[in-house]
């Protein structure tokens, strides 16, 4: 495996469209629930252990070679609001385009053909990681990091926070992100015997509710 491939896959500059999404932090800022670096850290920690754990599990299972269509159904059942399902598929479609150009593979081609509207993004990420020769743990790590990296970067723009403080926050959360990735990869290893039910389905009520509120706004800076 190549370490550089993991850095490439997890890089915010990887052209997969993630920069246009705030991971729910735009809605939280509008509600004044996130207003400084400390409330941002609490937001990111909650997101890491809910959505982050769930997406990391899906990414790890896809990287382990589990049937991506089965995982796509599992992702739908773990995403009860249409706004977040639409975002996950849109991001999946964009990541698919970038991944097929970067890490060409028959498995990516097959998934693209089966899900022309886009599979859930962490599943595409996992299949891409597999194509790049990365491990399920690597894929989980990329997903977990993205679960906090996205909102932290968006909050810097929304609140004019100090980017150095945001980096400090991400470094503080890195041990927890690693632990989440390890848990997710452990669950993914059980999918072969227990089926996709072995994967985490950690969820957060406010991320679901505010995602639909945000989708109904007429003017917004981020797509989600």
């Amino acid at each position: 495996m190549s370490r550089a491939a993991l850095l490439l896959l997890a890089d915010g500059r990887f052209p997969a469209g993630g920069y246009a999404h705030s991971g729910g932090v735009e809605a939280a800022v509008a509600h004044n629930a996130v207003h400084d670096i400390h409330s941002l850290e609490a937001f990111c920690r909650g997101r890491l252990h809910t959505t982050g754990l769930t997406t990391a599990g899906l990414a790890a299972a896809a990287a382990a070679g589990c049937d991506p269509l089965l995982l796509d159904d599992a992702a739908d059942a773990r995403t009860p609001v249409p706004a977040l399902r639409a975002v996950a598929r849109k991001l999946g479609r964009q990541m698919m385009r970038a991944a097929r150009a970067t890490f060409p593979s028959a498995e990516l081609d097959r998934l693209a053909a089966e899900r022309p509207q886009g599979a859930h993004q962490p599943i595409v990420q996992g299949v891409a990681a597999r194509a790049a020769g990365l491990t399920p743990r690597d894929a989980a790590c990329a997903a977990a990091y993205e679960a906090v990296g996205g909102p932290a970067t968006a909050a810097v723009r929304l609140l004019s926070l100090d980017p150095l403080a945001a980096s400090w926050l991400l470094a503080r959360l890195s041990t927890e992100a690693d632990a989440v990735a390890a848990n997710a990869a452990g669950a993914a290893a059980r999918v072969e015997t227990e089926g996709p039910d072995a994967l985490p389905s950690a969820s957060s009520p406010l991320l679901d509710i505010t995602a639909e509120q945000h989708a109904a706004w007429t003017v917004r800076l981020f797509a989600s």
Binding site: H31, A33, G46, V81, T175, A184, A202
Partner: protein, 292 residues
């Protein structure tokens, strides 16, 4: 404290062979030997409803432990069962289960007479509370318990596992109150999983109260202490509709009602500062779901 009875502390790298999600798996399986405690109550109450061509009958109504089952006379085609708390439960170390089945064409409603209060008990070991709901073809099952209150120091793992036939109808409402008045809540881990015609429709896992990491932050509850869900599954439901938002802010509570991806189902998620505000939101969501 028995081993394996707590989630990994936040921030400590866990043993990779023991994933934190094992909690979900164990409780989903319903019987994890490590959860039990010699002092704990082990009880499984069962309700089975059948349709005899005229009305719904209850060939099995088995009370056990804290669950005292009472048929409530309603006069219609359906049957209603009230669950009366016969002792304080769940306490730490208890293993409680409810098995509720509405067979083909039966119409069954099950409620609880009072809120369920999770308390600390003689041990900090978790209690388990597993509800299994099964509905057959053309059956109608309504599971409408009163609130579950997670009192300070309690530790409860709750599961709700639902299995529906393609033509069954379901109405499910769950409400969780984190702490009694102005106290810190206990640790409450819940997983709800719904299969319809063999396919997974919904899988959600929540963890509130210390040591669950991040549970009270702006991305999960943001200080709210009441959280609930409402699920309506009905093959005749027009589920292809836009989400309904109840209240725009988040401070006074809010909810969303939206169709699930995998079937004719509407699902509401609500958070609120109090149990009464939560019930109001879920009642409104139900009204929208039923097209009122």
């Amino acid at each position: 404290m028995s081993s394996g009875s707590r989630l990994a502390e936040p921030g400590t790298p866990p043993d990779p062979t023991v994933p934190a999600t094992a909690t979900a798996t164990n409780t989903a399986a319903g019987t994890d030997a490590s959860c039990g405690h010699p002092d704990g109550v082990h009880a499984t109450a069962r309700i089975r409803a059948t349709y005899n061509g005229r009305v719904t009958t209850l060939p099995q109504l088995r009370s056990d432990g804290p669950f005292h089952l009472r048929r409530i006379r309603t006069g219609g085609r359906g049957a209603t069962v009230g669950i009366i708390g016969a002792m304080s439960a769940p306490l730490g170390g208890d293993r409680l289960a409810l098995d509720i089945t509405a067979e083909d064409r039966a119409e069954l409603e099950v409620t609880t007479a009072a809120a369920t209060l999770a308390l600390r008990g003689p041990t900090t070991a978790p209690a388990t509370y597993d509800v299994r709901l099964t509905a057959g073809e053309h059956a109608c099952l309504r599971w409408l318990p009163q609130q579950l209150i997670s009192a300070a120091g309690s530790n409860l793992r709750q599961t709700c596992t639902v299995s529906l036939a393609a033509t069954s109808r379901l109405l499910l409402r769950e409400e969780q109150i984190l702490g009694r008045a102005d106290e810190e809540p206990g640790h409450l881990v819940s997983r709800i999983r719904v299969h319809r015609a063999g396919r997974l429709l919904l899988d959600q896992h929540t963890a509130y109260g210390d040591p669950a990491p991040g549970w009270d932050g702006p991305s999960v509850l943001d200080g709210h202490r009441a959280v609930g869900q409402l699920l309506v599954v009905d093959p005749e439901l027009d589920a292809d509709r836009a989400p309904v938002l109840l209240r725009e802010g988040i401070k006074d509570g809010c909810a969303v009602l939206a169709p699930l991806a995998g079937g004719p189902a509407l699902f509401a998620t609500a958070v609120a500062p109090s149990s009464s505000a939560l019930r109001e939101l879920l009642d409104q969501a139900l009204g929208h779901a039923l097209g009122e």
